[in-house]
């Protein structure tokens, strides 16, 4: 699982393929009626299913991995459904938003969906963004915006390669401690 890019260089660049407003709910990212589909390998087909033109571009593989969804405040609010993170991760999308809802952000970190907090972000669809450690440069407009670092508790999970490997390490450590 390549989640280290979130905290390490080199700078990556991608285009904004979808610009969204504030309070984008997980019902928009992954509508509830597809929730019977749970496995990360199967969820990508329903990403933004009700934004039908965008979904069909994703399905036709017209959107390259590393493309960016630009959100406003409180991106990913609502349901805790993890499909909302796995569906975006499946397409290799990056989400940059002014802020994230708590559970969505945690799910993203746990699964290795790249999420960047950028409170000042100004970017339109089609703009090319360059992401470095602590800034986002909008190459189209020439303006640059500071990134807010994720809390240390989340960075530890990212550094371990996601929550599954993080928990596995902890489990093995616990077992070793018990045996000694």
């Amino acid at each position: 699982m390549n989640v280290k890019a979130q905290s390490e260089k080199p700078p990556v660049a991608g285009c904004v393929v979808l610009k969204m407003g504030d309070d984008v709910s997980t019902d928009t990212i992954y509508p509830g009626r597809f929730m019977a589909t749970v496995l990360p390998g199967e969820t990508p087909q329903y990403a933004f299913a009700d934004i039908t033109d965008f979904n069909s571009r994703l399905q036709k593989k017209e959107i390259p991995a590393g493309s960016i969804v630009a959100g406003g405040w409180n991106f990913g609010c609502g349901s805790s459904r993890e499909q909302a993170a796995s569906t975006l991760k499946g397409h290799g999308l990056i989400v940059i938003a002014k802020s994230f809802a708590r559970i969505f952000l945690q799910n993203a970190v746990n699964l290795g969906l790249q999420t960047l907090v950028c409170p000042e972000l100004e970017a339109d669809e089609g703009d090319e963004l360059e992401i470095s450690d602590d800034r986002v440069l909008n190459r189209t407009t020439g303006r640059s915006f500071a990134l807010q670092p994720l809390p240390a508790a989340k960075r530890a999970i990212i550094a371990a390669g996601g929550l599954i490997s993080y928990t596995r390490e902890r489990l093995l450590k616990m077992r070793t401690a018990k045996e000694q």
């Binding site: 309070d23 709910s25 019902d27 928009t28 509508p31 509830g32 009626r33 929730m35 019977a36 589909t37 749970v38 496995l39 009700d50 405040w73 409180n74 609010c77 609502g78 349901s79 805790s80 459904r81 993890e82 499909q83 993170a85 802020s99 809802a101 708590r102 559970i103 945690q106 799910n107 746990n110 699964l111 809390p151 240390a152 508790a153 989340k154 530890a156 999970i157 929550l163 599954i164 993080y166 928990t167 596995r168 902890r170 489990l171 093995l172 616990m174 077992r175």
Partner: protein, 428 residues
């Protein structure tokens, strides 16, 4: 410096005398819940154990609850097959707090947990559902997590990397007018502080109005705390909490109650006097798009929904029935009513309340989440307007992005179902 209630709970759950806001802690979990998404959690659970040479075992099966509620009975073969896998897993792991699709013990997870005494004051409770905030009504610190994080809890018995959250203190005073209730209060609060006004924070409810409020109302306040972005909602436990536990949840033993300190550090304080509060309405397509009902009176409605983990309790349906009894809903309205659990369903049936609702034209659905999130029955047509006592009105929430949803109390829903247009119930 004192501690907020959640600080106190996290200190106890980590074996420390004190925790600071912002500390990263790993509290021991008292209860870990999931519903149909157990299917995903168990997949992730097996992933964790992959390559370890260890047998996948839940750390303490007695602290795990699995409740089927999202699509009951199964609406399709995919769900049915997932539920079957979960049943096998539950049996294999020895999970006893399992509520299958049964009329003697089933229902919506956020009612099943409190009514079965699974929630105790001071507990740390996690669940793969955003409305876990509900259980703060009994003085627990309860918050929603994703399915992978739940699998992690199953493995370790700990919630990993929890940042001790800030708390907003809400003080509520005054007496509700007739036909005004906890639902109107929480809609008003969300409208005031916005859908992200409590993000990453806890809402702690205080005041004389809360003291007088039955647990059913407190469950509403905590259920919808997440709609203000809150990590959790919480009511400090009191006499009413103990009464509920004893009389309605059959919990007889108790341990020392935790309460917030008088000098606890709150990040914000909000005072609300409910004596002039009017029935409220959340308008499409945001829960914080809140106005008084009378500002939208006359809006035609196609489907009215009374029920859910927010307002599917006995007194919610009884309040609706007291308005609907002996009357008929408008001919163009579909009224769907669903109690939050089968226990409530049976009580309502015994007392003739389901009969009253059905005679007025309501369709009684079985307890479950279905139509609230558009996954099981009660779909909306293109252009439909729904008026619902549920907790979310996001675009497409009830399954059709070409429909719109208003949120309200059971009383507003009942009176509007009769008139066929949104109506203020005061004066009824």
């Amino acid at each position: 410096m004192g501690m907020t209630l959640v600080q106190k709970i996290l200190a106890r759950a980590t074996g420390q005398p004190f925790v600071n806001i912002g500390d990263i802690v790993e509290p021991a979990v008292d209860l870990a819940m999931s519903h149909e998404n157990t299917a995903l959690a168990l997949n992730q659970f097996l992933e964790i154990y992959k390559g370890t040479g260890l047998q996948p075992r839940i750390w303490d099966p007695s602290k795990v609850a699995v409740i089927f509620d999202h699509r009951v009975p199964a609406e399709g073969s995919k769900t049915a097959t997932n539920q079957k896998k979960v049943r096998e897993f539950v049996a294999q792991q020895g999970i006893t707090k399992f509520h299958d699709i049964r009329g003697d013990q089933g229902g919506i997870c956020h009612q099943i947990l409190p009514e079965n005494g699974y929630v105790r004051p001071g507990d740390v409770i996690v669940g793969a559902d955003s409305h876990m905030t509900t259980h703060g009504a009994l003085g627990a610190f309860a918050f929603g997590i994703g399915a992978t994080e739940l699998a992690s809890v199953w493995t370790l018995g700990l919630a990993l990397n929890v940042e001790v959250p800030e708390t907003i203190r809400i003080d509520v005073r005054g007496q509700f007018q007739e036909h005004v209730s906890a639902k109107d209060l929480i809609l008003y609060l969300i409208g005031m502080i916005s859908s992200q006004g409590a993000s990453f924070r806890v809402i702690e409810y205080h005041g004389e109005t809360i003291s007088r409020m039955p647990t059913s109302g407190r469950l509403v306040l905590c259920n919808m705390a997440v709609e203000a972005g809150a990590t959790a909602g919480i009511v400090p436990p009191d006499e009413e909490t103990l009464r509920y536990l004893r009389e309605e949840a059959g919990v007889l033993e108790s341990r020392p109650l935790l309460l917030p300190d008088a000098d606890a550090p709150y990040s914000r304080r909000v005072e609300i006097d409910v004596s002039a509060l009017a029935p409220m309405l959340a308008c499409p397509h945001a829960v914080d798009n809140v106005v008084a009902v009378r500002e939208r009176e006359g809006t035609r409605v196609d489907q009215v929904v009374i029920g859910s983990c927010t307002n599917g309790r006995y007194d919610d349906l009884a309040a609706a029935a007291s308005i609907l009894r002996g009357r008929k809903i408008a001919p163009w309205v579909r009224l769907l009513a669903f109690p939050a659990s089968w226990k409530i369903y049976r009580q309502l049936a015994r007392d003739g309340i389901l009969e009253d609702l059905a005679q007025a034209g309501a369709v009684i659905l079985n307890p479950g989440c279905g139509c609230c999130l558009g996954i099981h029955q009660g779909a909306l047509a293109d252009g439909d307007v729904a008026l619902s006592t549920t907790n979310r009105n996001f675009l497409g929430r009830m399954g059709n992005p070409k429909s719109s949803i208003y949120l309200c109390s059971p009383e507003v829903a009942a009176v509007s179902a009769i008139s066929g247009v949104i109506k203020d119930p005061r004066g009824e």
